[in-house]
Symmetry: C2
Subunit: 364 residues, 2 copies
Amino acid sequence: MIEHLSTPAFLVDRHIVQRNCDAMRVKAVASGIAFRPHVKTHKTIEVGLMQHGGARGPITVSTLAEAEAFAEAGFRDITYAVPIAPAKLQRAQELASRIDRLNLLIDSEEAFRAMEATEGRRFDVFLKIDCGYHRAGVDPSNPDSLHLALQMARSSRMSFRGLLTHAGHSYNARHLDEVQALAAEESASVSRFRSLLEAEGVRDLVRSIGSTPTASVVDRFTDCDEVRPGNYVFYDAFQATLGSCSVQDAAVSVLTTVVGSYPERNALIVDAGALALSKDTGPDHIEPRFGYGLVCDAGLRPLPMRVAALSQEHGRIEALDTVPVGTRLRIIPNHSCLTAAMFDRYYVIDGQQVVAEWKPVRGW
Amino acid sequence: MIEHLSTPAFLVDRHIVQRNCDAMRVKAVASGIAFRPHVKTHKTIEVGLMQHGGARGPITVSTLAEAEAFAEAGFRDITYAVPIAPAKLQRAQELASRIDRLNLLIDSEEAFRAMEATEGRRFDVFLKIDCGYHRAGVDPSNPDSLHLALQMARSSRMSFRGLLTHAGHSYNARHLDEVQALAAEESASVSRFRSLLEAEGVRDLVRSIGSTPTASVVDRFTDCDEVRPGNYVFYDAFQATLGSCSVQDAAVSVLTTVVGSYPERNALIVDAGALALSKDTGPDHIEPRFGYGLVCDAGLRPLPMRVAALSQEHGRIEALDTVPVGTRLRIIPNHSCLTAAMFDRYYVIDGQQVVAEWKPVRGW
């Protein structure tokens, strides 16, 4: 039972995760494209299997540690979706030799040259394209990018598999129609760049796209060959605010206990601080700002309270009502990817019952 | 050697930690007061011993998991410095029975009544006083606070040991003289409240104070009986900005690799994202804002760069210079307590050599 758990504890609602996993998978299948969900949000074999309806299908990872753990569990087709550090090429090569396919990401001449200087097994590579997020990725309108892609296509050290992009700037959108516009540009940017390469004789490149906001707002995936959403398995308060999901789709919450109650200053202290919730400020470009997570009662009904500040083990909540010490609350995190990573163990719940414990991959 | 470590990695400079530990301990000893350093920043037995010059002295903890791990390692006098959730009293009682002293914190009638309703071993308790931080703690000017303290003094279920406060608002100071004023008020607030209790016949209460900024700026601890600083073992970019230490006193850094270089947009991507650095924004009330940590070269020389944004595994750095992919950087964290907690293992360095690995306590 949830009531017997020590706090803070990370709760995952099994039915909601299942529903979120099924909905995205069905949409990908119905769209006739490949589905390569990201596992970085949950980092567990259990949810990895749920994402593929029980199969060990293609996945995307954010660390080599995730890749190795999922490979160990039988997943054989993995994309490592962060540009690879040259010093990690050997470790990647060793992993690649144990599975069917490990796709790596390149977006620089230096990484290309580092790969060219290797020996042994050929690498499977994607070129990372910047579709406007301006984090990683080459500028598809820059002639140097085309030059790098052509070098990749001609290299004997790599098999050039495709073009990958991520519309992370969808997290900065304010409205659903903004997210929809970014979704269209996400796939259009890789399609345009692929056309340039086709004109140069480079064919069969996979167009891989994906962010949870853009993947959630479209009815059908078009103008792409593969999608890689990840956060959708849990969703969170941020996604609900953006409109990617409703609050009822948030599958995770942090169970916490009121340890201090100060009605004279309209404040509570709970035992979920920065090490339980993470300090992601969430959708702070959208009013009203709701602080470091959405405060709910033990039955997950939202309360008119705000997590105003976090220190290491204290969460300070603004509350007009008096709430006694000992009361349990649940906080839907702003950003489930970061909050989940604070916990070594997830408690999987079905109603008020704890039905399983899952242990995420940690480290790099 | 550091150069062989995979990134991101958390580096701890052994000599600097030793120097920081020695300086604070010597100051406490010279002040003739008890020294009960906080272990929450490092969460390792190794640094716990260094804080006491090799002895298993009194310590402060932020979680019962820390208390249990340090008790297991032979530490026998522990203060758990977060108001205790009533549901954790039994676990605390079990731990208390295995060591000499486990001090718990109370600041509410509810927690007092929960403790009153227990059986078995008496609890050792401190009353938490709010000295102006307005996080936890009773208002010392409120008559209800005096009433609660008198109830604690008369209870047969607890031994009332002292008054504890924490000037956490020193982190919001802008200048050293502001920190000094808060340091004076920190100890004055508990001394005044203790006088009120002495007038009621309650004697021998320990006045326990401590935050790293306030403990660092005074030459000598006065008007108190015990200090509990914690962050000083590592310090960080935030403390250097406040003036608690210099940048050269920061004992920790995150080793990271440039995985993307985009001179056309004055940006780098490193493989230390939010899961390596934490998303603590640091001293963002002080100009100039330097982002999510202080970027240095591999020799720890500060560079004119700024960690502008963090996503899960990507750190985006603004840099006017072109820095090749594969370059290693070291980032002094904004807030070492939160950054250290992101890592399962610390690499202890002496110059460029890795001389040990330490594993911090995790969870709650």
